[in-house]
């Protein structure tokens, strides 16, 4: 009986730690989405599809062109960053003065475009990098290096964004513009340029997430649907545009998914997470850390 209890505990601990590792990547995605929302006041419904395109980018660079993973990764990040900027330039910029709902729906259209572009161009097969990283055994718990690496890289990415936002002029301008759109133009900041840069950074974060996720998951055109919705929920739960709230919410959700997955199927983990979200909307409708307006 005692032995059974020990085993159960080990699994629980393993699930908790895996949840934290998953939370890192989710926090990275939430950061990108929050950044774009905070600065441009737009929600990219298609954010997870940018990640999907990035995962395909990694797949082709590594599998077809035989590039080393660590050379392919920066290329992919650049590619998705460019895609983010392009998305802003083509779709969001003409709609900046339109009702917010229209902007959101337009990115919904982009979601369709990216998904079906991937279907048409790459087919619906599941593909993976073919890189199998070893598994780290710690006591009786097993953690894959892929997850550890993702977690570390996600944290590094977030620190890099933090430093950029606080230590550079452009970063300061981005933060300023998210506080007051009208005044910043008078202060000599080119809002259009800042928007474009922000979109590129948001894209780059999606690219980084793609490089990390492709280590753990197979890529297919609909892979975005498996973590896109959860990213939106994290952002809403943390309070849209609230970076710290998003960070905390990412780990809360990751734990729910990991623990729910431990006790039953992975889908139930997601169902619990969604249910938790709706309950939280009753209790804290404006997000975890929000002050009541």
């Amino acid at each position: 009986m005692q032995g059974l209890f020990d085993i159960f505990d080990i699994y629980l601990l393993e699930a908790v730690i895996n949840g934290i590792l998953l939370g890192g990547v989710l926090a990275l995605l939430a950061l990108g989405l929050n950044l774009i929302f905070g600065v441009i006041d737009v929600t990219w419904i298609c954010y997870a599809e940018l990640v999907m395109i990035g995962m395909y980018g990694m797949y082709f660079l590594v599998q077809y062109y035989g590039l080393w993973y660590f050379i392919a990764a920066p290329l992919t990040i650049l590619l998705v960053a460019a895609l983010g900027a392009l998305l802003h330039y083509l779709v969001i910029a003409p709609l900046l003065t339109a009702p917010p709902i229209n902007q959101l729906l337009a990115t919904g259209g982009v979601l369709f475009v990216l998904q079906s572009f991937a279907t048409v161009a790459f087919g619906i097969d599941f593909r993976n990098l073919g890189i199998r990283l070893p598994v780290l055994a710690l006591g009786e718990m097993n953690f894959s290096y892929a997850r550890l690496l993702s977690f570390a890289a996600a944290l590094l990415g977030m620190v890099a964004v933090y430093l950029f936002m606080t230590r550079t002029f452009t970063g300061t301008a981005i933060r300023a513009i998210s506080q007051d759109r009208q005044i910043m133009a008078l202060m000599g900041v080119d809002a259009k340029r800042i928007y474009l840069i922000t979109s590129a950074i948001g894209g780059a974060l999606a690219g980084l997430a793609a490089c990390l996720l492709v280590l753990q998951y197979d890529v297919h055109p609909f892979v975005g649907l498996s973590f896109g919705p959860i990213t939106f929920l994290i952002c809403v739960l943390g309070g849209l545009g609230n970076f710290i709230g998003g960070f905390i919410a990412a780990f809360v959700f990751a734990e729910i998914i990991a623990l729910g997955g431990l006790f039953s199927d992975l889908e139930w983990g997601y169902v619990f997470a969604f249910g938790f979200f709706i309950v939280m909307m009753f209790i804290r409708p404006a997000g975890l850390l929000a002050r009541r307006r």
Binding site: V91, P100, I101, G108, G109, L114, Q115, S116, T119, G275
Partner: protein
């Protein structure tokens, strides 16, 4: 009787007479699909036209479809009872999610994302309970012996289905016009302009929003159930989830969500587009239809946010009353 009313009556008579004159099964099949989806898109636009953009309607449709089919297969409950139960379930869900949203003034982006979560949940629950629902492989209501079966709501011939779908579609338009004529419409329009001002003017914001959400959810569930009975096969991807929600938004916007026939025009365009592509490219068309949808959706929102029919109606009005021109 004005000439306009007469025109509508003639059009209606022509629509009713159509299947008795013209019996090509494939074309009738397309028409039935158009009518059912038009009804679904109309129910979405009920809310959408008042700025309540929901991506949760995939969830309501999924509930309508699966509850009806599950009750039929497991308990032998006739769809005549199963459909109301399914609608009730969807309506309850709409209230459970809608009430806190409206009570706590979750609007705009937040509302979209909360409802997005809703359709996500329904999709995941259907997939997770694969022991009962067949998961992503889909689900088939049990067929009764061949031929028409009124109690099981299963009909073999397209003519009957065409008339059923036409009837439901007309009911949808009727509900639209009832809402259009009611005081609630003015209240909801005021709310979509400015919630605070509307509340200050004595509009019960929460109740008004909840009412229209409930109507919309009930209609969407009915559309889902009807689709199940007609197609006799459902899968999580075709009746629930975010893709279906976005499809509704897309069709409503393309057609124009501020005019009663807008969603119908949207359904005609999207379904004809998908079918044309399917015939032209065969299985090679997988993905192309959505690619074109997506591009069109983006272009429409940028250049023609009122939709095709909406813009036409607007232009006609302008021509009749040039003084309206801003």
């Amino acid at each position: 009787m004005t000439s306009a009313t007469l025109g509508w009556l003639v059009a209606l008579a022509a629509l009713i007479a159509l299947p008795f004159v013209y019996r090509e099964p494939y074309h009738l099949h397309i028409l039935v699909l158009i009518l059912i989806w038009s009804f679904a898109y109309t129910s979405w636009s009920m809310m959408g036209r008042f700025g309540l953009v929901s991506l949760g309607h995939g969830g309501f449709m999924g509930i309508g479809a699966y509850v009806t089919a599950l009750l039929w297969n497991n308990f032998g409950l006739t769809p005549w009872l199963g459909i109301p139960i399914a609608m009730l379930a969807a309506g309850m869900l709409a209230i459970v999610v809608g009430y806190p949203c409206f009570r706590f003034r979750i609007t705009g982006h937040y509302f979209v994302l909360v409802t997005l979560a809703l359709s996500g949940i329904v999709l995941q629950v259907i997939t997770a309970t694969r022991d009962y629902t067949g998961g992503s492989l889909g689900y088939t209501p049990q067929r009764t012996s061949s031929g028409n079966h009124l109690l099981a709501l299963q009909f073999d011939d397209k003519t009957t289905w065409y008339l059923v779908a036409l009837c439901i579609w007309l009911v949808g338009l009727l509900i639209w016009h009832l809402v259009d004529r009611s005081m609630n419409r003015y209240a909801l329009e005021a709310i979509s302009e400015d919630e605070d001002a509307a509340a200050a003017a004595g509009v019960n914001v929460t109740a008004e929003k909840l009412k229209i959400t409930l109507v919309s959810a009930l209609m969407t569930a009915l559309a889902g159930a009807l689709y199940t009975q007609y197609q006799m096969f459902i899968s999580p991807d075709t009746v629930s989830g975010i893709a279906v929600s976005l499809q509704m938004v897309f069709a409503a916007i393309v057609g124009g969500l501020y005019v009663s026939l807008g969603p119908t025009v949207g359904a005609v365009i999207t379904i004809l587009l998908a079918e044309t592509l399917r015939i032209a490219f065969g299985t090679g068309a997988v993905g192309w239809d959505n690619l074109i949808y997506g591009i069109l959706l983006v272009l429409f929102i940028i250049f023609l946010p009122q939709g095709i029919l909406g813009s036409l109606v607007e232009r006609l009005k302008m021509r009749r009353q040039p003084s309206l021109k801003a």
